[in-house]
Protein backbone atom coordinates (compact mmCIF):
# COMPACT_ATOMS: atom_id res chain seq x y z
CA UNK A 1 0.00 0.00 0.00
CA UNK A 2 1.21 3.49 -0.83
CA UNK A 3 1.15 5.62 2.32
CA UNK A 4 -0.99 8.72 2.10
CA UNK A 5 1.25 11.60 3.16
CA UNK A 6 -0.68 14.45 4.69
CA UNK A 7 -0.73 17.45 2.34
CA UNK A 8 0.13 20.44 4.50
CA UNK A 9 -0.77 22.84 1.69
CA UNK A 10 -4.34 22.04 2.64
CA UNK A 11 -4.65 24.29 5.69
CA UNK A 12 -6.39 23.23 8.89
CA UNK A 13 -9.28 25.72 8.44
CA UNK A 14 -9.92 24.57 4.85
CA UNK A 15 -13.37 23.05 4.38
CA UNK A 16 -13.71 19.48 3.16
CA UNK A 17 -17.08 18.97 1.49
CA UNK A 18 -18.75 15.58 1.70
CA UNK A 19 -21.69 14.72 -0.54
CA UNK A 20 -24.54 13.26 1.55
CA UNK A 21 -27.46 11.26 0.11
CA UNK A 22 -30.83 12.27 1.63
CA UNK A 23 -31.24 8.77 3.10
CA UNK A 24 -28.23 9.42 5.35
CA UNK A 25 -29.70 12.42 7.17
CA UNK A 26 -30.86 11.97 10.79
CA UNK A 27 -32.40 14.29 13.36
CA UNK A 28 -30.11 14.74 16.36
CA UNK A 29 -32.22 15.75 19.35
CA UNK A 30 -29.04 16.47 21.32
CA UNK A 31 -27.97 19.08 18.77
CA UNK A 32 -31.53 20.16 17.94
CA UNK A 33 -30.96 19.84 14.21
CA UNK A 34 -30.60 17.50 11.30
CA UNK A 35 -27.12 16.21 10.55
CA UNK A 36 -25.50 13.46 8.50
CA UNK A 37 -25.47 9.97 10.00
CA UNK A 38 -22.08 8.71 11.12
CA UNK A 39 -22.32 6.25 8.24
CA UNK A 40 -21.94 9.20 5.85
CA UNK A 41 -18.34 9.59 7.05
CA UNK A 42 -17.09 6.08 6.47
CA UNK A 43 -14.43 4.85 4.10
CA UNK A 44 -15.57 3.32 0.84
CA UNK A 45 -16.02 -0.35 0.15
CA UNK A 46 -12.77 -2.22 0.68
CA UNK A 47 -11.60 0.52 3.05
CA UNK A 48 -10.87 2.90 0.20
CA UNK A 49 -10.30 6.43 1.57
CA UNK A 50 -13.22 8.80 2.06
CA UNK A 51 -13.88 11.03 -0.92
CA UNK A 52 -14.27 14.80 -0.40
CA UNK A 53 -14.03 18.03 -2.35
CA UNK A 54 -11.80 20.94 -1.35
CA UNK A 55 -14.49 23.57 -1.01
CA UNK A 56 -12.22 26.59 -1.07
CA UNK A 57 -10.49 25.45 -4.25
CA UNK A 58 -13.77 24.70 -5.99
CA UNK A 59 -15.07 28.20 -5.23
CA UNK A 60 -11.75 29.85 -6.15
CA UNK A 61 -11.96 28.19 -9.55
CA UNK A 62 -15.09 30.23 -10.15
CA UNK A 63 -17.54 27.37 -9.93
CA UNK A 64 -20.71 27.48 -7.80
CA UNK A 65 -21.24 25.36 -4.69
CA UNK A 66 -23.76 23.22 -6.56
CA UNK A 67 -20.99 22.01 -8.84
CA UNK A 68 -19.90 19.72 -6.00
CA UNK A 69 -23.16 17.80 -6.38
CA UNK A 70 -22.25 16.82 -9.94
CA UNK A 71 -25.27 14.95 -11.35
CA UNK A 72 -26.84 14.41 -7.93
CA UNK A 73 -29.00 17.48 -7.54
CA UNK A 74 -31.05 16.00 -4.69
CA UNK A 75 -27.99 15.29 -2.54
CA UNK A 76 -26.73 17.55 0.25
CA UNK A 77 -23.27 18.75 1.19
CA UNK A 78 -21.80 18.69 4.69
CA UNK A 79 -18.41 20.10 5.59
CA UNK A 80 -15.74 19.48 8.18
CA UNK A 81 -12.38 21.20 8.38
CA UNK A 82 -9.13 19.57 7.41
CA UNK A 83 -7.96 20.32 10.95
CA UNK A 84 -10.79 18.26 12.46
CA UNK A 85 -9.95 15.36 10.17
CA UNK A 86 -6.32 15.54 11.33
CA UNK A 87 -7.42 15.64 14.97
CA UNK A 88 -9.16 12.35 14.17
CA UNK A 89 -5.87 10.75 13.06
CA UNK A 90 -6.65 11.17 9.37
CA UNK A 91 -4.48 12.50 6.56
CA UNK A 92 -5.78 14.71 3.78
CA UNK A 93 -4.38 14.35 0.26
CA UNK A 94 -5.22 15.87 -3.10
CA UNK A 95 -6.68 13.48 -5.65
CA UNK A 96 -7.69 15.61 -8.66
CA UNK A 97 -9.96 13.87 -11.13
CA UNK A 98 -10.79 14.90 -14.71
CA UNK A 99 -14.39 15.56 -13.72
CA UNK A 100 -13.47 17.19 -10.37
CA UNK A 101 -10.08 18.92 -10.06
CA UNK A 102 -10.78 19.78 -6.40
CA UNK A 103 -11.26 16.15 -5.42
CA UNK A 104 -9.35 14.95 -2.34
CA UNK A 105 -9.18 11.96 0.00
CA UNK A 106 -9.42 11.66 3.77
CA UNK A 107 -7.27 8.66 4.61
CA UNK A 108 -7.03 6.52 7.69
CA UNK A 109 -9.00 3.97 9.66
CA UNK A 110 -12.32 5.39 10.80
CA UNK A 111 -13.63 3.92 14.01
CA UNK A 112 -17.29 4.39 14.77
CA UNK A 113 -16.25 7.09 17.22
CA UNK A 114 -14.33 8.99 14.55
CA UNK A 115 -17.24 8.74 12.12
CA UNK A 116 -19.62 9.97 14.81
CA UNK A 117 -17.36 12.89 15.74
CA UNK A 118 -17.04 14.00 12.11
CA UNK A 119 -20.81 13.73 11.65
CA UNK A 120 -21.64 15.69 14.80
CA UNK A 121 -19.07 18.41 14.11
CA UNK A 122 -20.06 18.82 10.48
CA UNK A 123 -22.04 21.80 9.22
CA UNK A 124 -24.25 22.06 6.17
CA UNK A 125 -23.16 23.75 2.97
CA UNK A 126 -26.29 22.58 1.20
CA UNK A 127 -28.77 21.65 3.91
CA UNK A 128 -31.88 19.49 4.04
CA UNK A 129 -35.25 21.13 4.57
CA UNK A 130 -36.38 21.41 8.16
Amino acid sequence: LIPHIDDKTIADPDPLWRRVPPAMVVFDDNLGRKRPSSSAFSNGRGETPMSVILGRELLQSGRPTQAALAAHADFLIAQVTAGLARECDQTVVRDPQPEEPAHALVCGHKTRGIQSRLAKMSTWVISPGM
Binding site: V26, N30, S37, S39, S42, S116
Partner: protein, 172 residues
Protein backbone atom coordinates in the same frame (compact mmCIF):
# COMPACT_ATOMS: atom_id res chain seq x y z
CA UNK B 1 -45.05 -17.31 4.68
CA UNK B 2 -42.92 -17.99 7.72
CA UNK B 3 -44.30 -17.19 11.13
CA UNK B 4 -41.85 -16.31 13.87
CA UNK B 5 -43.02 -17.95 17.07
CA UNK B 6 -39.77 -19.08 18.66
CA UNK B 7 -39.47 -15.98 20.82
CA UNK B 8 -41.89 -13.38 21.98
CA UNK B 9 -40.62 -10.57 24.17
CA UNK B 10 -43.79 -8.74 23.15
CA UNK B 11 -47.17 -10.10 22.21
CA UNK B 12 -46.85 -8.74 18.67
CA UNK B 13 -44.49 -10.36 16.22
CA UNK B 14 -43.50 -9.53 12.67
CA UNK B 15 -44.39 -11.80 9.78
CA UNK B 16 -42.16 -11.74 6.71
CA UNK B 17 -43.25 -12.56 3.20
CA UNK B 18 -40.87 -12.34 0.27
CA UNK B 19 -39.59 -14.04 -2.86
CA UNK B 20 -41.67 -16.87 -4.32
CA UNK B 21 -44.15 -16.87 -1.47
CA UNK B 22 -45.18 -13.30 -2.19
CA UNK B 23 -48.22 -12.47 -4.22
CA UNK B 24 -50.31 -9.46 -4.96
CA UNK B 25 -49.46 -6.08 -3.54
CA UNK B 26 -46.64 -4.14 -5.12
CA UNK B 27 -47.07 -0.56 -3.99
CA UNK B 28 -44.12 0.71 -2.01
CA UNK B 29 -44.98 1.56 1.57
CA UNK B 30 -48.65 0.74 1.17
CA UNK B 31 -50.25 -0.42 4.39
CA UNK B 32 -52.98 -3.06 4.41
CA UNK B 33 -55.09 -3.32 7.55
CA UNK B 34 -55.67 -6.96 8.53
CA UNK B 35 -57.70 -7.06 11.70
CA UNK B 36 -55.53 -5.30 14.23
CA UNK B 37 -52.35 -6.02 12.28
CA UNK B 38 -50.85 -3.81 9.57
CA UNK B 39 -48.99 -5.05 6.49
CA UNK B 40 -46.27 -2.86 4.98
CA UNK B 41 -45.58 -3.72 1.36
CA UNK B 42 -42.80 -3.30 -1.15
CA UNK B 43 -42.34 -5.13 -4.45
CA UNK B 44 -39.62 -7.23 -2.79
CA UNK B 45 -41.30 -8.13 0.49
CA UNK B 46 -44.14 -7.60 2.90
CA UNK B 47 -43.99 -7.26 6.65
CA UNK B 48 -47.02 -7.65 8.87
CA UNK B 49 -46.83 -6.06 12.30
CA UNK B 50 -49.32 -6.85 15.05
CA UNK B 51 -51.68 -4.07 16.02
CA UNK B 52 -50.45 -4.19 19.60
CA UNK B 53 -46.96 -3.08 18.60
CA UNK B 54 -45.96 0.41 19.80
CA UNK B 55 -46.57 3.27 17.39
CA UNK B 56 -42.83 3.81 16.94
CA UNK B 57 -42.46 0.26 15.68
CA UNK B 58 -45.04 0.84 12.94
CA UNK B 59 -43.43 4.05 11.71
CA UNK B 60 -39.94 2.55 11.89
CA UNK B 61 -40.93 -0.61 10.00
CA UNK B 62 -42.49 1.59 7.32
CA UNK B 63 -39.26 3.60 7.00
CA UNK B 64 -37.13 0.45 6.99
CA UNK B 65 -39.00 -1.34 4.22
CA UNK B 66 -38.87 1.90 2.22
CA UNK B 67 -35.07 1.55 2.07
CA UNK B 68 -35.58 -1.30 -0.40
CA UNK B 69 -36.34 1.37 -3.00
CA UNK B 70 -32.67 2.44 -2.98
CA UNK B 71 -31.00 0.83 -5.98
CA UNK B 72 -27.37 -0.05 -6.52
CA UNK B 73 -25.02 2.95 -6.21
CA UNK B 74 -27.65 4.98 -4.35
CA UNK B 75 -24.88 7.01 -2.70
CA UNK B 76 -23.03 7.71 -6.00
CA UNK B 77 -19.98 5.95 -4.53
CA UNK B 78 -20.80 2.34 -5.39
CA UNK B 79 -23.11 1.47 -2.49
CA UNK B 80 -24.93 -1.84 -2.59
CA UNK B 81 -28.71 -1.93 -2.63
CA UNK B 82 -30.40 -2.71 0.67
CA UNK B 83 -31.55 -6.33 0.67
CA UNK B 84 -34.78 -7.80 2.06
CA UNK B 85 -32.57 -9.87 4.36
CA UNK B 86 -31.13 -6.71 5.91
CA UNK B 87 -34.63 -5.31 6.40
CA UNK B 88 -35.74 -8.55 8.02
CA UNK B 89 -32.76 -8.54 10.41
CA UNK B 90 -33.50 -5.00 11.53
CA UNK B 91 -37.22 -5.68 12.04
CA UNK B 92 -36.30 -8.72 14.13
CA UNK B 93 -34.03 -6.45 16.15
CA UNK B 94 -36.86 -3.94 16.63
CA UNK B 95 -39.07 -6.78 17.82
CA UNK B 96 -36.47 -7.73 20.39
CA UNK B 97 -36.20 -4.17 21.72
CA UNK B 98 -39.86 -3.19 21.58
CA UNK B 99 -40.41 -4.06 25.22
CA UNK B 100 -38.31 -1.03 26.14
CA UNK B 101 -39.91 2.45 26.18
CA UNK B 102 -37.68 3.84 23.44
CA UNK B 103 -38.37 6.79 21.15
CA UNK B 104 -38.59 6.30 17.42
CA UNK B 105 -35.10 5.75 15.96
CA UNK B 106 -33.72 6.81 12.60
CA UNK B 107 -32.97 4.00 10.16
CA UNK B 108 -30.11 4.68 7.78
CA UNK B 109 -28.65 2.57 4.97
CA UNK B 110 -24.92 1.90 4.91
CA UNK B 111 -22.65 1.68 1.89
CA UNK B 112 -22.49 -2.10 2.05
CA UNK B 113 -26.25 -2.44 1.81
CA UNK B 114 -26.94 -2.95 5.46
CA UNK B 115 -28.99 -0.83 7.83
CA UNK B 116 -28.11 1.20 10.91
CA UNK B 117 -30.63 2.08 13.64
CA UNK B 118 -29.83 5.30 15.50
CA UNK B 119 -30.99 7.23 18.56
CA UNK B 120 -29.57 10.68 19.35
CA UNK B 121 -31.38 11.98 22.41
CA UNK B 122 -31.05 12.60 26.16
CA UNK B 123 -27.36 13.38 25.67
CA UNK B 124 -26.71 9.94 24.26
CA UNK B 125 -25.79 8.64 20.82
CA UNK B 126 -26.69 4.99 20.34
CA UNK B 127 -26.24 3.29 16.99
CA UNK B 128 -26.82 -0.36 16.08
CA UNK B 129 -25.60 -1.63 12.74
CA UNK B 130 -26.78 -4.93 11.31
CA UNK B 131 -23.78 -7.04 10.26
CA UNK B 132 -25.72 -10.07 8.98
CA UNK B 133 -26.08 -13.57 10.45
CA UNK B 134 -27.84 -12.14 13.53
CA UNK B 135 -24.78 -10.08 14.44
CA UNK B 136 -25.02 -6.42 15.35
CA UNK B 137 -22.49 -3.74 16.28
CA UNK B 138 -23.59 -1.35 19.01
CA UNK B 139 -21.98 2.07 19.45
CA UNK B 140 -22.77 4.10 22.54
CA UNK B 141 -21.51 7.60 23.29
CA UNK B 142 -22.25 10.05 26.07
CA UNK B 143 -20.04 13.08 25.45
CA UNK B 144 -20.90 14.81 28.74
CA UNK B 145 -19.80 11.82 30.80
CA UNK B 146 -16.89 10.91 28.53
CA UNK B 147 -18.27 7.45 27.86
CA UNK B 148 -17.80 5.75 24.51
CA UNK B 149 -18.04 2.05 23.74
CA UNK B 150 -18.41 -0.24 20.75
CA UNK B 151 -19.44 -3.90 21.12
CA UNK B 152 -20.69 -6.74 18.95
CA UNK B 153 -23.90 -8.47 20.00
CA UNK B 154 -26.63 -10.80 18.79
CA UNK B 155 -30.27 -9.73 18.60
CA UNK B 156 -30.97 -11.68 21.78
CA UNK B 157 -28.17 -10.06 23.76
CA UNK B 158 -29.02 -6.60 22.46
CA UNK B 159 -32.42 -6.77 24.14
CA UNK B 160 -30.60 -7.21 27.46
CA UNK B 161 -27.84 -4.73 26.74
CA UNK B 162 -27.27 -2.16 29.48
CA UNK B 163 -26.74 0.73 27.05
CA UNK B 164 -30.12 0.28 25.40
CA UNK B 165 -31.79 -0.08 28.77
CA UNK B 166 -29.96 3.01 30.00
CA UNK B 167 -31.37 4.98 27.11
CA UNK B 168 -34.87 3.69 27.84
CA UNK B 169 -34.56 4.60 31.53
CA UNK B 170 -33.75 8.22 30.74
CA UNK B 171 -37.36 8.81 29.79
CA UNK B 172 -38.82 10.84 26.98
Amino acid sequence: MRVEQDYAPMAWMPLFDSGSTMTGRTMTGRALQVGTAVTYSHPQMRITVGGDAPDWIHSTVRSTIGLLSLGENWDSRGARAVSPKSVEEVVRLLHRTAELPLPRPSVVPTGDGRIQVEWHTQGVDLEIESLGMDRFRLYFCNDAEGVETEIDLTSESIAKDMHLRLLAQRGF
